[in-house]
Assembly symmetry: D2
Homo-oligomer: 477 residues x 4
């Protein structure tokens, strides 16, 4: 056997199915050997007493994105990829977001431009489709899907983004024909606007009232509708950021009908509640994301969904806004809640939070953690087997975890370009010691060890989880 | 790197999570290396164009067992292990079955005696508990569980086997305290007997009437009851051989309540229907097992359950009786159906049938096939990671499949000691070329290449799927 | 005791709860006495061997209405009330239908003009709200509700009628504040249009393709959405013309959540199927209504819903179009299905069909028949106790049924202004012998015995079933 | 019109469907006239401002019954009927309870003897079948059912009463063949015994631990099993005293499957909770009945079930034991909970409690109150139309309620032979002023005005709600 560029020695190596003690041999950025003992490398990492997992893949994060109302996300590909790396994430899939009147192809080109030469780690793009013109549906999307942009995101809410049911059916039909997967932000826009009007009329303008406009019923309705449209178009979909029982029940209901409905959740629905919105001096805005976190009972529902297979992936929905005039206060010091940019940072904390509360505290197995944060994401978005596992031939994207290291989350520790974290003060057990991307050590015990710009764009294949076309089984394969 | 005893070269290697092209290096009966290319072995298998999976584990088969009514299962450990091997199964977990008045320890000793020096492949034992005396509950079971018999089977039907609800709670409490997993045969004995009396009164004695006594309602009720008893005792259970929609819905219902309910199904519920019981000249008896197969619509329900995670394992429930005086006709040439031994052979056909209809026909992924037939079985019964996967340190129990080989099932091809197969005439795509047990090639293109007696007893650890005690998540980890 | 104007003697008298043999004494148009024997009337009807029920109330019929696409319903108040009477219906509640840009008050005035002096029987109006302008919401509706128009109908489909979710919430909020009941036509307009486009593109233009555009999924989605909007606005609603399992399950789901969701079905969902649409020479158009009838299995679901309390009322949804240039062929001899006016006649057949298949064939009790066709309608729409029962003080609106009379339905027998009936050839058992309105015999053994114009407008009170405001129980009271 | 024996003048008269202001004319013990104004009676009751309902029928009460463990119920037909009357109940249906080894016919004879000449009001008997011998099944039951004992009660718990599933199927088959209705006490005996053993082992002997043995799961399981056995035998059943969500969900589930499952609940599940069991000095025993009351959330579930039609009847399950050596302390001053006779008094409080919390507080309509406490009971047990309504020809069993009278429940007010009431201190609004049985005023403003012994035995017809045989609809008819 040839020599290796890198050997990770003596760790407990976990995949979505297996846990075994072995050495990992890396060459040319790929995993080329797994064995009880390997030798002959220029570099060797001692992982004894450590856990080695595939690098995290964050399938839902907003980077260098201009929101419809003119606010830039605080992180660009430099700070975003930096933050990702320190949190054990080695692949990010942000969005190329079309605004009304724009050509999707030009949008993609612009996002590539903002990413080129910036990212430490590899990345792909989902396409946000806000304006499905005949040109977009008939020409741009088919070509882009063939070029490796195989996941489309649509919104059922936000005035500037939302599609009509007819437009959504058009997009689903293209997805079916061309082999793309459609991600759906499912909230009923009209109901939220109507409730918001009522709240504002009553002078209820503070952040804590936002969850009263974005109720579980508004999320449930749109989830049911999205599932129905997917049933009519006969194509799988993914419901993103499921927040609690009501939407979760719709996902289970659809799946029991035999529909291929995938679901994502995020750490905010496991660690935060709407009570967090009720902080003085506008600080509640720091927790404002949509749909909002619910309550403790709903956190348990989400945990159960992670345990019993309801959710396939856990993403951050990183939507970074600073607590200042560039972000949460873009529309004033204490604007009414509909004027506050929706979104919270979470790229760096996603993996440690889930490792700690999930694996360290025994709620999910180590293998389930790997599946939810990496393997299933890669399979869902057509990056597998290049990404998402520790197997021969896969990219050597790896995290060496110290399972006993305790860290209290403090924004000063984090590397995003946001001046707060909603998870401030939470102590986690388990932290990434070393993060490796394509065989390169990119982060070593809290030090960045790789340059910006080394990350490459990853064209995506058709989803191997969602399968070819039409509804079928939703399995773990 | 050291030399290997065996290298499997160039195959597509599948685990429950991953599929990759690599070589497998075996030494001392263990998998010691996975790499893009390995060299230096005394023996090398060319697996190019082939699929390599973990060897099958059959978690539900009756071998060398005397039924309560005096009929021996047709297969002993010689013929049973032979049949298993030719079907790609490298571990069997038959039962040590206690009859009333017997000491469980002595039962176990007796079964060991019948297995010693006979089996080609490794084996463990489940304990059938028919008479939970204070001695059994208080002393024998705790000791046996500590000795590696960590799965207990109880029956809610069959006069000679069935426990009262009180006895079942006693057994569940021991399982909880000592860390065992209880498997439940869930049919309502009273209801079946009552319906049988009505049918016999009406002169409806032929095999085709048996499913009218063993209705889905009788299975559903006992499933609900078993789940309730597990809820009360606060311990996981496994419902074995789920046959159709009604019982499946109860499993899903229990799991949605947060209970740790595992479920098994068998090929008979995917390939047979109750119409098969309606054959002339008593030939319907060849399909008689309990619960009986249902109809085509229920087959679809079972497939969906394999696809969406309802079922964790697929077993054969191999209960071999010849179509002669030693078996199906033990009580006469054409006895009324309650006098016919219940059970069908299936040890050898389990893996090819599921590979073909599942993987080759696209109903489940290759990884799901591995999970259902091997990995999850090993995890469920405390044999993982020694058995059930292709990972460094695991036993080199492997099957090299020719995914394109077409075989029409014919009893003459099979190696069990039964004079028929219920699957006669079915053509499958995909067949085991080579079967390997602890690094030994035991079956090579239809030839037995290993001696009887090489198989060893496997003491089982606590279930890693069922976890410690109490209900929690049911996941894939 | 004073003398009576009319005595109905010796009949079996049925209310929604009771069946008893007694005489009914009528004076001044009211029921003033029930007794084992009454005497002293100027007129006496011998009802021995007959069944006496409250007169039917048809809570859903289109009379003298101009559809949005310019087609008039074939029946005006003359022919409509005539047809109603012959079918045992003594109260009709058609619609005053607002088109875009119209004042609701002026619409109501116009409908009153078309009804004045025409109707044989009493009538009320529901208000169809198509254009909920601030003027309509803020002034016209509150005033009209106070004037006795306490039920509002909204559409989620039909381009010219459909409300946005926001508009529907506005209407629901008015209903809540002012004490009105909102009826919802629940089909997803976008999905139907999208499917229609696909069918037309494929050249599938005939009536038989219409159900492929109006699928159960499109009805289910809108039903779920309507329930959600009612939940958000915290007000009861009525889902009209539920066609089958999918929508019915949503109603049950909503009610199990504690929401006050009422549901209506119609004879077409009990007697017709979508197979009826597949008739040569455009004759399928004779069965075209929306949502369309489904299949035999769904008919059973609807019957079960009548039996177990899912449905509170059975209406005709009489939408009469002739099979000629004024109706079904308004847009040509064989236009594509979206160009065919949707709707079928049923005012006259509603009561006999349900009496026969329901009561005579034993599917529902006589009391349930009375509840579904009369009492619950009166309670739901604020006409109780004036209408809908046989109790002291109520209007003497009565039907004397010959429960054994067999009639084969033949359009020549009917009195609507439509040249066909979709129920042609069905033989019913049970037929109205005598129909009485406010003590007047209006129809006697097939002869009209009262003049047009005797019917009066009935201002409606607040619904006594839907209660005050907010969700609460849905009971039978 | 002839003269009347009695006229009730000017009341608001309520049936299960209607509410109207009218006079009621009574002659020969029957209702013979309802009219706006009646005259010519020897006696007249001024009911202006009052509500007149049918007399209550208590379909579940234990009178003059010896429990299996040797304790007599504290009320005989004298005190029992007295208590009933003062609470507005005019018909009682206690049990003739077979013990092991007894002839059912002789049991019935004995109960008749204890009732003869004692009861103030009319009564029927349910048969408790504890020992379904061939003699009982084949001869006694068929004859007794034909003699007017058309309801059978079976137990799935209590050592001395409980039937095996096989025995229950035997009883259900007789019920089906002969047209009887089977009432089921559904709790899993084995599970309760097993849990009780665990509690006693742990020294948990006080009344407050009883609900930990009789959990909702033990009730749910037996409910599911009873439904399954009814499904297998193809015959309707009634689940008595449903206590909370888990059993209620099973009833709804069975009914949704199309099975004819009726359900009863009792005031204890609306007004008490298991917290009441936790009283010092053994006073918790005063609340002990089986199944036990649950918690506030389950009370809401039961209210909802009353509102949406889940429950057909509300009974008292009056099982009177004094808080002394003859009753709760029969086995000592503070015996462990399994030694305490199960049951609480409630015959006299049933109607006022439900009137107050149901009608006065707006949870159910007056008509629903009548249906639940009287009409449906009469229909269910074959006493309709003789009992249960205010209609021509029915027995004049009536209650004149003062809807505004406030009474604080105090055992000193009550007339049962029990020295406490579990409802002590509850203030109700609405109380019976006058109670009439077959035209006789039996209770007038708190004074007994009729002799013991005037009540007669009522042979029951076949249930008109449960219908003939087999499962069908469960409606309100």
């Amino acid at each position: 056997m040839s020599e290796f560029d890198l050997i990770i020695h003596g760790g407990t190596v976990a995949t979505a199915a297996d846990t075994s003690g072995c050495d990992i041999g890396v060459k040319g950025g790929k995993i080329v050997a797994l064995a009880d003992h390997l030798a002959g490398a220029s570099r060797k990492i001692d992982a004894r007493g450590k856990i080695v997992t595939p690098g995290g893949i964050d399938g839902h994060c907003h980077i260098a994105q201009l929101t419809a109302n003119g606010v830039w996300s605080a992180d660009d590909f430099k700070s975003g990829s930096l933050s990702a790396v320190f949190g054990g994430t080695t692949t990010i899939i942000p969005f190329a977001a079309q605004n009304h009147g724009e050509s999707l192809r030009q949008v993609v080109d612009a996002y590539h431009k903002s990413a080129d030469g910036q990212s430490i780690i590899d990345y792909a793009f989902h396409l946000i489709v806000s304006d499905p013109t005949p040109q977009v549906l008939g020409q741009e999307l088919p070509a882009l899907i063939r070029n490796g942009y195989t996941s489309l995101k649509v919104y059922l809410t936000y005035a500037a983004r939302k599609l009509t049911d007819h437009q959504m059916l058009d997009v689903l039909a293209v997805a079916r024909r061309e082999g793309a997967l459609v991600m759906v932000h499912a909230e009923n826009n009209d109901a939220i606007e109507w409730l918001t009007e009522r709240l504002l009329e009553a002078g209820k303008t503070e952040p804590k009232y936002m969850p009263l406009a974005h109720t579980m019923a508004t999320e449930r309705e749109a989830t049911h509708r999205a599932i129905t449209l997917a049933e009519i178009a006969d194509v799988p979909i993914l419901i993103v950021h499921v927040s609690g029982r009501e939407a979760a029940e719709q996902v289970a209901w659809g799946r029991n009908k035999g529909l291929k409905i995938f679901a994502e959740t995020c750490p905010q629905y496991l660690f935060l509640t709407e009570d967090d919105f009720d902080k003085e001096h506008f600080h509640g805005a720091k927790f404002m994301c949509s749909p909002p976190p619910r309550d403790k009972a709903n956190q348990e529902v989400i945990w159960r969904g992670l345990q019993n297979g309801l959710f396939h992936i856990v993403s951050s929905d990183h939507a970074p806004y600073r607590f200042d005039k560039t972000g949460k206060m873009f529309n004033g010091d204490n604007p009414p809640f509909p004027k506050v940019p929706n979104g919270i940072p979470g790229l760096e904390t996603r993996m440690p939070l889930l490792f700690s509360a999930g694996v360290s505290e025994g709620r999910i197995s180590l293998n389930e953690f790997v599946a939810l944060t990496s393997t299933n994401v890669a399979k869902l978005y057509g990056l597998y087997p290049r990404k998402g596992t520790i197997a021969i031939g896969s990219d050597a994207d790896l995290v060496v975890w110290d399972p006993e290291r305790r860290v209290t989350i403090d924004n000063a520790l984090l590397h995003h370009n946001v001046d707060y974290t909603p998870y401030e003060g939470i102590t986690v057990r388990g932290w990434p010691d070393i993060v490796i991307s394509r065989g390169d050590i990119v982060c070593d015990h809290g030090k960045l060890t790789a340059p910006h710009g080394r990350g490459v764009f990853l064209p995506c294949e058709r989803s191997s989880l969602a399968g070819s076309v039409g509804h079928g089984a939703v399995g773990a394969g």
